[in-house]
Every structure is written in structure tokens, then in C-alpha cells.
Amino acid sequence: MAADHHHTAGYTAYGLIGAPTMRTSDGTPALQVQNLWKVFGPRAERLIGTADLQLSRKELQAKSGHVIGVRDVSFDVSPGEVFVVMGLSGSGKSTLVRLITRLIEPTSGTVVLNGEDITKMNDDSLREIRRKNVSMVFQHFGLLPHRKVIDNVAFGLEVRGEDKGARRNRAQEVVDLVGLQGYENNYPDQLSGGMQQRVGLARALAADPDILMFDEPFSALDPLIRRDMQNEVIRLHEEVGKTMVFITHDLQEALKLGDRILIMRDGAIVQIGRPDEVVGAPADDYVRDFVSEVPKSHVLTLSWVMRPPSGPDEGAGGPTLKDSQIVRDAARTVLEHHGPCRVVDGSGSVVGVVDEQDIMRVVVAEDESPAAANQAAS
């Protein structure tokens, strides 16, 4: 894709572009978004294709009162992938995720889910999609205060007309899965925020959807609880292996959960890439600022720090390391070896070498100012 290509063009500084790793690869993406636009305001569809849309968000708003929510966004999500959308508050993340199931009507563009074009569907088929294929978890939970936990979890099943026994059983399963057993008969407001979000999670899982979408699900929670919940999502992803679209404004969270990360700004894509790509090769200063505080050694893989071997024998005899290994994990081995180590790719062929200095450059950079770090990196 053209857009993708431009954004990724920035990080060839390291001379390496890894192909995105995907869990399964039978070819068809689970979700395909193409040239998606959302412009808020009366008769916004008329603006599509006009020069007005080249204006910045503020300029357009001052001119016609229209607000650009999402600007020409395209991406694919593979089955089983955890796809994170990240950006500052107001950058259009929530709008984007809602466009996918048309909780907000797109102004133009297409969304293809399991090969079906969502944007052309009538209300009934759309409702079927929402009932069976896509579930969502919300920042503010969106629970029904007049229903018990178990009934909240079963709500989606109730809505699609399943009988009481079946939905109770299924709800109980999911309740157990998310660790809510014992709270089935409480009302949501008797639970803590973290527990409430578990209810939201269970409700989304109950329908056994193909895709789970999360809109900043943990932003309202305390840091400690947030970490628990992130681990919970990782665990669930391992257990049920669902495709996930995860919205967050927290880079740490994005790096922790995401197979790939989409960074948004002013409604548009700034960069799409794996966590190490985003940290290692920020597309522009905006992203660079974002990632400047991240301990790089925790994210970058050896492929980002290795250099081409000076000769065919360099590093021979020393330990062999994988190029996908995180710097921090490899550091001890390299530092103890006191010499260059070979780095091999998935097929076992040597792609480069690392030595103490390469490692130190990354670790030391973390303690310096972002600008210095940039220099050190380039």
C-alpha cells in the first residue's frame, strides 16, 4: 500500500525492514479498511473529493464548521493479530473504531470484514454482524446498572434471542474465564472499576465473536489494575486467539500488547509498524517524541542494533543469537562474551554481528535527552 510505504520509508536508517509477523497467513485479512473518511457536520459527504479536505482540521473547522474525525485511513488486520491504534486524545481513534461496525456512519471508504463489505450492508445484516462477529469493550464500560453481572454478560445473547438456559450456561463460562466467579449476582456498581471492566470483557467474549474491539478499555483504571487487565488480555488472547483491535493512548500499553501499532494524529495515519519498528524507526518527530521515553533496550530486537560483519569470520566461535531477540535479553550474553556475537535470522543464516558497544549505545541512549538519543541512534 502506498500510504504504508511512505510512512515506513522513514526508518531505513537501520537498513532493515522486517516483514510484519502474522500469526496465521492464509492470505485473507480479518479486517480490511480502505480510504476511510469521517467528517462530522451537516452534509459532509459533499466535501469528499473537494480541496477543502486538504485543509488542516482546524482550518476546515474555522471555515465550514466541519470536523475531520478520520482522514483517509487504510490498513489490514490479519486473523489472530492484535492490532493497536494509538494517538493522543482527540486524534480520532474512537471514531475510527466505531466506523468499523458503523456505530458511526463513515463518510466515505470501505470496511471489509471476513470478505463482506460492511459499508454496503442494510441494517439487519449489520445487526447480525454486531451480534455474532464483532464485539466491543468500552472505556466507560457501558454496563446496564439495573441488571446483575450475569445478566449483563448474557445481554448480547439475550438480544439475539437465545433461550435462558443456554445463555446462562454460556455466560457462566465466560464469567469464569475472566475471573468473575462469585460476583454473578452483584450489580455493576457494587464492583470496582477493574471488575466492572471484566464484566465488559466477558460481555464481549460471550458472543464468541471473530473480532474483539477495545476502545481505551483500561484508561479509566488505576495503574496497577491496568497492568493486571493488560496481562488478562494477553492471557485471553493466548487462550482464545481472537483478532483484536485495541485502542489506547498509552504507548507502553501499545508496545506491550500490539503485534502491530497504528499511530494516528489529526485523524490521519502517521505510522504503522511492529513495536520495534515504531521505536527504532519513528516516522517523524511526532512519533519520535512519543517514543523518546521508552527504554529502547526493552523493545528493540537485535536486528536493530547489529551491524554487517566486517568479515565472514567475525563473531565466529561466540554465542549465536536470533535477530528477533530483544536487546535487553541478549545483553548479558553479549557483555559476558567480550567480543562480537553472530546474529542469525529465522532460517539460521547469519545476518549480522553485535558487540558490547552496539548494546551499550542503546542502553546509554535511554539515560540521555531525547535529542541526544536521536543523535546517538543515527
Binding site: R127, M136, L143, H146, G156, R160, D189, G200, D284, D289
Partner: protein, 706 residues
Amino acid sequence: MSPVTVQAPPPRPGAIKEEQPYIDPQKKRHTGKRLLGILVFWLVLWVALRGKQTLAVPNADTTSFQDWLTQLKVTFSNMAQTNWFFHGVLGTIADAFNWMVGGLQAHISSTAPGQYLGWFGVLAVAMWIAYAVAGRRSTILVGVVLLLLGLFGTWQTGMDTLIITIVSVLISMIVGVPVGIAMARSRRTSAIVTPILDVMQTMPSFAYLSPVALFFGIGPATSVVLTLIYALPPLVRITEHGLRAVSPNTIEAGRSLGVTRSQLLRQIELPMAKRTIVVGINQSMMAALSMATIAALVNGPGLGQPVVSALQILNVGQASVAGLGIVAIAIMLDRTTTAASERTEKSSSGRVGSVGYPGLSSKVIIERLPRWAHEGAGRGSVGHRLTPAGRRLLLGVLLVPVVIAAVYSTRYLQLAQFPDLSGTPLLKELSGTPLAGHINDFTDALVNAIQGLTNAFKNTITYALLNPLQSLLSNLPWWVMAVVLLATAYVLGGWRPTITTAVCEAVILAVGLWNDTMTTLTMTLVATLLVMIIAVALGVGMGRSRRVDTLIRPFLDTFQTIPAFVYLVPALALFGSSRFTAIVAALMYAVPIATKLVADGIRGVAPTTVEAMRSTGCTRWQMISKVQLPMARESLVLSTNQGLLYVLSMVVIGGMVGGGSLGYLIYQGFSQDNLFGKGLCAGIAITALGIMLDRIARHAAERYGR
């Protein structure tokens, strides 16, 4: 599409935490200067053109449109017995209402012995219902109130009032909740229905009393219809509001699960709006009760009857006793429905706050209840630790004594008709007639004590405020005033209220009552000013001190619910027949609501702010004037708007004590058939005036209130 297309410079680290939304550049409005300009224009033209083209008309003169309306009523009245619509449709509705009320009366309030439920049975059943829906405290309250009604000697009329109220509110619910739902779902429906509700709430009922009696006959049906007209709007508005206020997060979550429209309504919106709707029912009940006296003028059964007949013989005491009966019923229904609503709320998430600003809404603002009611209800609901099954069992067990009481009450005369307690030593003084005597003595003493002062006060206000303002508003060419109002509307609120104002002015001119309307406007403005002065003084005190609140609130509650007819006579004694007396009557009614809203606003100022300000060492006066009042500005605006509408709703009553102008014309139209058209026109003019003032105030508040 390289990263360079993103035009804004990248944020500096740490400087900006989120993408800044676009902010409208502040226009300078020059409101003060513009208003000053209007004032100058006004004064200059007043000096130059005083007394010309004022459109003043004598009370008995009518325009051809007014005569046409009168004639229309005659035509209708000739058709009333034969026409398929009037006789067939309305007649059938009337029969249905009469049947409902008649049936309940026969069971509950009838004095015919031997057939139906006696007072003791009614008491037992009512207390049982209160226990079932609301809890222990409500049960006791219901018992006390019903016994009090009996003690006052107003058992039968009290029950009649209760019956009319309940029937009207039931019909309101059947009609109002669906309408409210429709309005919440469609902006268009809302835009169409809202003005109708506005008219229902602002049109004085005196203006249409006799046609309603014509079509629905002289009987309970007419009372029900009159009450319905008044009780329906608050329920509809609050239902709409409640549904609209359902958290969008929850609705979105529902939609993401693929709910249908009806599932959304039944399983998400209605359950979540339930508590607000109960509040709507509560408001509907209060509105219904306020029609009790007016319905009595067309033979409506209930406590209004003794009030009206007491007014004929100027017996303040007798009117007060019946009026207190109404207050007691109001308190009983209010607390019981509140407790019931608190109980229906399984979770405590999110109190129903003020309904905000749902339009011309004299009765829509959900005021907070007195403290003890809340505490009581709260404690009650904590107390219900019984399991549902346990509760059901207890209710079932309690049903046994209730049934026994009911059966006995049909067997024994003393349990059927409330006993005359005037022979019982302790209770004697409290029973109707002696109590009325005490109240009469008290009023006489009070009037004698302060009569000298009041006259001077009246003259000061009249000469210093009322007369100059009236001359300024009504004693000049009509078009000057029309322009002044339009310009004010524009400066304060922009185009939208200006258009409304133009339409309302056109209506007032068309019905031929410009001058009278301006006189009424004068009194309304003066009354509102006085209302706000008193409300701020009392409200600040109440907002700052719980003790003051507890002390004053019962009086506010009483004056808000007691029929105005009760205090007209003392007001007349103190101030004579005059415009000022009309203003006093309006004050009595409007001050309570305005005060409560001000007090709410003051109390709503964040304690942290107050604490922070106290730490700067400001004095009490600085605290009030620089912190609490400015921060409560929104409440002040709301309170002014409500005060204004409440004042307007007393215009007709004012017309009965010397207020003249529109109020008198409406009362006159009700009293003399050949002036019916003019009275109706005056009603229309008041409605137009009310809508105009409300819209200007509302848009101004939107602009400046925050």
C-alpha cells in the same frame, strides 16, 4: 502524503497533553452598550410620543375577532348536544372519566353507609400500598396524613381530591409516557409537541374553563380533563428528558451488541430512565393537585370546594383548613413517590440531578426535596435487607389485617364514616371548625398588627417602581415597545429569540390586547424582581446553613402547594385591592421555587472551592458576593426564569384582587359569557408573553449563564 502533509508543528514534549479542539474566537458583544442604546431610544421616544397610539381599550370593549370567538362558543354550545364529535366522541370520553371517578368515589369517598369501603378500610389499604411500594416511613406518613384529613373534617373531599389526582395521573401516564418516548426518539416530534406543551402549561385554565365544562359536562370528567391538561406536560417532558439522558456509553454498548430499536427501548432506555420517569409522575401529581381549586369552580369534587366556598364568605380559617388538607396530600404523594423511586433504583449509580433546562417548564424543574425526605428514603432503602421472597411473605401476612379492617369498615358505622372528634378533649382543638377559628383569630391579630406598615410599603413600591415602569411600558406608541422588545431579544439572545418575540408580538396584536399585555408585563417584571430579591436573601441563608434550611423549608413547601385562594383575603386586608396585592399573591407562589433553586445553587458550589477561598481569608460577605453567588450563576438564572413563569401563572389570581389587565379580563371572560372571546384572547396573550419571556431568558442564559 509524506509526513510533511501534517501541517501543525509537532507538539513539544510535555507541553501539550492532547490535541486541542478548535475554539471559537471570542466575539466581543458589547451587550452593555447596546442595551444602553435601546434604553436611550426608548426614553427619547417615550418623552416625545407619550400617550399616543397606546392601543388601550376599555374592559368591556371587544374586537370583532373576540366577538367571533364568543359567537363560536355559542355555536358550539348549540351543537354540543347533537354533534357527533362533541356529543359522540367527547361525550364518550367524559362518560368514561365519570365512570372511573364515580366508581372510585363509590368505593372510597362515598358516605353512603353499608355498601363500600369505610375510612378505616381505606386507611388500612392505603398504608399497605405505601408499605409495598415505598417503605416504612411512607407508611407512617400516609397514616398520619389520612387521619389528619379525617380530623380536619375533610375526609370525603380529601378522598375526592385524591381520586381525581390519581385518575388524572394514571391517564397522564398512559398518554404521557408514550408521547415522551416518541419525543425522545425524534427531534421532529419533539419540535412539534413542545410548543403544545408550552401552551398547555402557560395558558391560564380560567380561559378555557367554561368550554371544557361545556363539552365534558358538569362533573368529575371536567375536573379530570382540566387536571390532565396541567399534569400531562411535566410527565411528558421529564420522560423525554429521562430517555435522552440515558448514558450514551450504555446505548452505544447496546448498539454494538446489535440490539433492535424495541430492545433498546425496553431493555436499556426504559429501565435506565425509570427513576426519572417516576420523578415525572411525582411532578405530574403536584401539578394535578394545583388544579384542585380551579376545578372546584366548575363543580369539581374535592378539597377545592370548601376553599372556594370559604372565599365567598371570606373565612380564612375554613379555607386554610381545606388548603392544609391539600398541602398534606401533596406532601404524602410527594414523599411516597420519591421513596418509591429511590427503592426502584436497585443501584445507587447517579442521582437524578436537576432536569436542567427543558424549556418552558414551570413545573418541570425537579427540585430537591427536603433533607429529611431524602434521608428517610435512603435509610428506608438500606433497611430493606429482606430478601424479595421474605418481603413478599411479609406483605402477604400484612394483607390479612388489611382485609379484616376493610371488611369491618363496611360493617360498622364508626369505621365507615370518620367519627366526629369535636367531643374528644385533646383532638378537639385540631378538628376542622375550632382549628379554622384559631387560624381566623391568628390572621386577624396579624393583620391588625402590621396593617399600618404594609400600606406604606405598598405605596413606596407602587410610586417608585410600578407606576413609572408601567407608564414607560404601556403609555407610549405600541410600536416603540415592540421594537424595544425585539432589540432586547436580539442583543441578549441572538436571532432565534428575536423571531419568537416577533411571532409572539404579532399574536398579542392580533388578539387586540397590546396595552393590557404591557401592563401585565410591568407587574410581572416588578414581581419577578421582588421574588429574586427575597429568593436570594433566603436562598443564600439556606444554602449556607442547614439549620436555616430546616427552619424555612416547611414554609416554602406549604406556600408552594396551598391554593392561592387561601391567602387572598389576608392579602386584601393588608394591601387593599391594588396591583401591588396582585404582586404579593404572585410572590407567595413564586418565592418558594425560586428560593429552593438559589439554595441548591449555593449548596452546589464545590466545598473544595469554598475551603480554598476561606484559606485566602475572605470575609463572609466576600464569600457570598465573590464566590458563592457568581459560582451559582446558572442556578440564579434558572431561578429567575422559573420565578418569572410562576409569577405569570398567578396573573389571573392577581386579576381577582385588583391586578387588572389580562388577569382581570380572563376572569371576566369566565364570569360573563358575552366576554368569553375577550377572556380567551387574554389567555392567548398571556401564553404569548410567557413563551416570549421564557425564550429570551433561556437564550440569554445560554449565552451568559455559564
